[in-house]
Structures are given as C-alpha cells and as structure tokens.
Symmetry: C2
Subunit: 276 residues, 2 copies
C-alpha cells in the first residue's frame, strides 16, 4: 500500500446497486440488448423505449420473458420519460438526440451512459465475468473493448473452479457470524474480520465451496467461540479429490511434473528396448 | 449470448468517470486512505473532512503530496459540506452520523457509499488491479472481500505481461483511426470496429505493445486504406523474443514441454551411465 499519487487517468470501478431501481433504456438494438442483460443481472426494473422495427431478436426475447421490463413501442418523448428514473442508458444511432437526452439527465442528476459518445457518459461499461456472487469487470478505459474481451477470456480460464460457490458459502457463514456477534465496526467488527480472513487464507477454495449448514454451525461453535480456525476435517468436512491429491503442489507445478514423468517414461522405453 | 434472465442478485459493474469531479470523503482512517487512492486514480478533486487525530499515516501522506486534495481538520458539519459535491464516501465509526449523511446525499441525489453499511450504499467497492489504462475489479457483492483479494492475486499472475502497454498503443491507433475516418456509429463506425477487432485478434499482445508512431502510420496507410490487416513485419515491426520463440505453442504448453525435456534428459543420463 504505497501512497502513489502519480497514477491518474483511470476510472473509479464500482459495483452499482440497482435492486428495484428504475433504469430507462432508450434503443433496442444489439448494444441495447447487452445493456438489458447487465441491468437485469442487478435486479433493476427496466423501461425500454424503442420503435418495434429497431428491436434486436435478443431484446425481443428479454421483453417477452422478463416481468421486470416495461416496453414502449415509440421514440423517446422528452422530460416526461425521465420521471422517477434512477439511471438512463441510451443506444441509438441519432447523435443529436443522444446528446439532448444526456443534457436532460445531467440537469436532473440522473446517471447516464450514451453508447459510443464518451463525453456524454457518467460511466463506462467493460467486459464482464459472472459466476454466482462473483463478478469481474475488465475495463480498458475505452481504449480497446476487443483487448478487454481477449483478457476476459484469459481470466476466465485462470479462475479457480468453484470460486463462485466458495464465495456463496463464505457469504452465508459471514451472515450467520454477524447474527451471532452483531455490531458495525469497533472491536467485534475487527475480530469478525480477522477470523474470516484467517479462515479464507487457511482453507482451500474447493473446501470452502463444500461448506454446509452443519459445518457452518461447527465452525462457529468450535472455531469462533474459541477464537481459532478449525481444519476442514474437524468440522466434519471430507477433503475433495483436488485438495487431497494436489495439496502439496501448486497448480502451476502439476503440468510440468506430468511432462517430466512423460519424458522420463518415453526415454526409458526407447533406451531400454532390446537392441536388434 | 443467450437471453438468460435467471441470473439476478448481482450488481451493475461500472467504470465511473470522476475527472475533475468533486468527491467528499468523510473520515481519514485506513479505509478512507484506500478510498483516496482509488479516487485519485480517477483524477477527481477530493475534499477530506476528518479530525487530525483520526488520520491514518497514508491519508496524511496523500494530503501532503497531492494538490488535488483539500483537507478540513474537523467533523462533518451538515448540508453545507455537500454543496457542489458529485460523490460522497464516508468511513467513520459513528453509525448514526453515517446514516444521516447518507439520507442527506440521497435527498440531493448525490451517489454515496457508507463503509460497512451496505443498505446505505448506492455502490460497493471491490478488489482492483491496475496496469496503465487496464483496470480490473473483482466484486463478491459484499459476500467475501478476502476471497475477492485472493482471486485478485490469482488474476494478477495470469495477466499477459504487457497487457497495459498493448492497450495504450491500441488506444493511440484507435484515436488516429477515428481522426482519419470520423463519425459516430453508422457504416464507418462498423468498419472501424471490424478492422480494430481483426487487428487485435491476429496480432499477439506482445506485438501490439511494440507499436510506435511509424508503425501506426503504416498500419493506417497500408492496412486501413486497403481494408486489410498487415502482419507486424510488413509495417516495420521486429518480432519480440516471446513471439518468435513460442509463437507455435500456447503458453500453457511451454512448461509441460520443458518438463518433458528435463525428464527425458535425466532418464537418458541415468540409463546411459557406464555400468560399474
């Protein structure tokens, strides 16, 4: 943690909360359909304004299948469309219209994103990965959406299998711990945080993903109450195959080691063959 | 791209734009110092309100070294402190005070984050990675900050070396291309996007990172104008060592292959030794 102040030029990456908030999407093409997907994932209530002939098949499918979407088959009609709206996303080809909508939003302090016009955006989107409660965004600050996408694919391959499930289970444990030892901040908050950190660093991700109701109860009874972090076996957990087999070597070593064995075997086979 | 509408429960991940916007940070402890770092990275103008005795050494260093920070040695004084403020982040131990500030912000439609009180947050923070224009956020939707941090470290190890530099260079090329073939959306926008995608998928990340002024000019003259993507050598680029040596095999194969060779060599050495 260095106090480095020479690293400007970026954005502030955020996880915006939209549960039951009203999001207006102006436009219905392929960009708009991507917006609908992102916003639905955050449990928003959506209004789409777009003439029917401009609807992408995917947008149509969303409108048909989600009861969180209200659809108006028309163009944006002005200030009246912005009443009680919490966020506006536009994705239409009309640059003038887009800028007008942006100006209205800013006057009303409604956060707005205008596709393809960075100066009319309070925020940008990025490439996203989702695995249950785990969400990852890759932003190139508008410099190269394609490279963001390539990097996203590399990250997807490197993510621990079960990461989403492990996070879900740890979240449940954390909720139960807060019920048992409530309070915001202060000494109890710090002790809670330390205990959770100790658990997450001493257990494998695979093992955390295996947590069930009974194990969580034992963790709290035997672990939290005695201010220690039990091993997985001590709370009734069975180690997963990955955890047993490869505990002693990091993932990065498995493939080279297999390569070594294969090389040794082939060479032995060739050299030990009886000479003709 | 499936129209999957059963994946709620998440957030909308965003890259918020703060260049020259006013951000108020209430509090000066270690959490606040992290906020200062994130917000400075986005070129915001910061006001910190916190009694001097509550300042973390890192917060003090930021206040001393950055001319973008105004510091007030006192507690939050009410509505007057929110005039012309674009975002508010609080990180103080006083829960009642925090909730009050949150209510004021919401009445004024100022986006607000109250550390440790999710219900008083319009947005959450996550673990972050930064490499020049590349920014990555890992959010567990508040379920496990520690696991977010562990996953962040795994991702850092898996990121292509030079990713930030490649993005910077591609961003420059994109700007020059937009000057040469201007216009928002429409046919030219689509052609630009397709050409950039072709380039980013056919060149290695290492090679993109080597782009210089002259190569960019040649790419545009020979490539864009003739509607094709030249190879790196054709625009005067020299292939990097990684690109030459390992072009023909993916990164994932290098280590096992080296392991194979080592295994073969060791076995040959043992088996070919003269018998005693």
């Amino acid at each position: 943690m260095a106090a480095n102040v020479d690293t400007g030029g970026g954005s502030l990456l955020l996880a915006w909360q939209l549960k039951d908030k009203r999001v207006l999407i102006v436009g219905g093409g392929d960009v708009a359909s991507g917006r609908v997907e992102s916003v639905l994932a955050a449990d928003a209530l959506i209004t789409i304004i777009s003439p029917d002939e401009g609807l992408h098949p995917l947008t149509k499918r969303y409108i048909k299948s989600s009861d969180r979407i209200i659809y108006h088959d028309r163009v944006f009609a002005g200030l009246g469309d912005l009443v009680a709206v919490d966020m506006v996303l536009t994705a239409v080809d009309d640059v003038e219209k887009s800028r007008e909508i942006c100006d209205m939003c800013r006057a009303l302090r409604i956060p707005v994103n205008v596709a393809d016009i960075p100066s009319s955006c309070d925020f940008y989107f990025g490439s996203q990965i989702r695995d249950g409660p785990l969400q990852i965004m890759i932003s190139t600050n508008g410099k190269s959406p394609k490279l963001a996408n390539i990097i996203k694919k590399k990250i997807e391959l490197s993510l621990p299998f079960n990461a989403g499930e492990a996070i879900k289970k740890v979240g449940e444990l954390r909720t139960r711990l807060k019920e048992r030892a409530p309070g915001v901040g202060g000494d109890v908050g710090r002790r809670r945080m330390r205990w959770m950190v100790d658990l997450c660093t001493s257990w494998e991700m695979d093992d955390l993903a295996m947590l069930d109701d009974e194990m969580i109860k034992k963790l709290l009874d035997d672990g939290w109450e005695n201010n220690r972090v039990p091993k997985m076996e001590d709370v009734g957990g069975k180690q997963t195959r990955t955890a047993i087999g490869m505990h002693w070597m990091s993932d990065a070593l498995v493939l080279p080691a297999l390569g070594f064995l294969a090389g040794a075997a082939c060479t032995a086979f060739v050299l030990q063959r009886p000479h003709p």
